[in-house]
Amino acid sequence: MSRLFSFFGLLFLLVGCGEKKSDQQEVSGEVPGSQVGDPLADAADVAFPVLDFESFEPLLHQDDGKTYIINFWATWCKPCLEEMPHFERINAEERENGVEVILVSLDLPNMWKSRLEPYVENKGIQSKVVILDDPKQNQWIPKVSEDWGGGIPATLIYNTDRRSFHERGFTYEQLKTELEAFIN
């Protein structure tokens, strides 16, 4: 019975996330009901590193001459998906300028295999993807930035000399402009 509820819960969730109808059907078709109940069932063999904040934090402080764009997102966050192509483009275009994009997924554990993996595969995402899975958000959110209220999309750009945090979505031009202050 609870499985049935979970299945409907997930269906509801998928329907609610503002995806196109065809996507919903694709995604919900791929999710076996048996996987839905246990939020941690898929943690073992997910394709991306699953990090708690302690192991994630060094990614916010790499001092190697490169400029890092750390984008916090989730597959259920529509504006995050809208800006994703811009981050991918910047990652490809600016690599030779020492820029690296890291996509930090905040998807819930029961979405890692059902939503995150298919999304990254279907879209051919080239940027590095890691999963930040740490429930103690009140402790780690201010360590990313004191200015972060907790909304996503959110993006941190930093290198040895500069650091800027943005709790908003980016257009390609905005991202490019923001980045210029770091690489010129």
Binding site: G18, N138, G151
Partner: protein, 208 residues
């Protein structure tokens, strides 16, 4: 005469521009919102049962848990049962939950009054579930995501904001919660003690 008209027009446009700029700033929830100790506005919003609900309807309340939540956000869904539990626990003590859905149904069809009604019926919400029609209320509170809790204390001079933030410290598993932020705050309020942690942060779905 011509010059006069041009000057007049320019002045009007400048004034309008100024008004617009103020309005844009005023509409941006990130720019303002309540701080601890502020007096929160009352409202009159439609409930899923069709009735209009205001804080002033609750004559005997000692306070309110005004919770901005919605139908479709995974975090909001993860917290539904815990919001129901908060209402059951604290309504008898005079601190009921008032849930407000702040998203625009035009921007998010899954957040329409009809869908809210369905969700409220499915989950048997014991609290009012109100639509912030026209999105006038959430920017005043400074709600930025769902779920986002505002604990208000009813005083002689209005409903004062006492806690802003998350419900607890584990969105994904209620059984793993170590710190129940909201319960601690309400317990302190009811016990006449200072609230230790007045604001907390959490990931949530941006309000649209």
């Amino acid at each position: 005469m011509k010059t006069y008209i041009i000057i007049c027009l320019s002045a009007t446009m400048l004034a309008l521009g100024g008004l617009l700029a103020i309005n844009v700033l005023g509409d941006d929830p990130a720019m303002q919102g309540y701080q601890i100790g502020d007096r929160a506005t009352d409202f009159s919003l439609r409930n899923v049962d069709g009735a209009m609900v205001s804080l002033s309807d609750y004559r005997d309340a000692k306070g309110f848990l005004v919770i901005f939540t919605c139908n479709t956000c995974p975090y909001a869904i993860a917290y539904e049962d815990r919001i129901i539990a908060l209402d059951k626990k604290y309504r008898p003590f005079g601190v009921p939950v008032i849930a407000i859905q702040p998203n625009s149904p035009e921007a998010k069809p899954g957040e329409s009054m009809e869908k809210m009604r369905e969700r409220a019926a499915e989950k048997n919400f014991p609290f009012p579930y109100l639509l912030d029609e026209g999105q006038k209320i959430y920017p005043q509170y400074g709600a930025s995501r769902t779920p986002h809790v505002f604990l208000l204390e009813k005083t002689g001079s209005g409903n004062m904001v006492r806690y802003i933030g998350a419900i607890d410290d584990n969105y994904r598993d209620a059984s793993q919660v170590e710190e129940k932020f909201v319960e601690k705050a309400v317990d302190a309020l009811l016990g006449g003690r200072p609230i230790e942690l007045e604001t907390t942060k959490a990931i949530g779905c941006s309000i649209k």
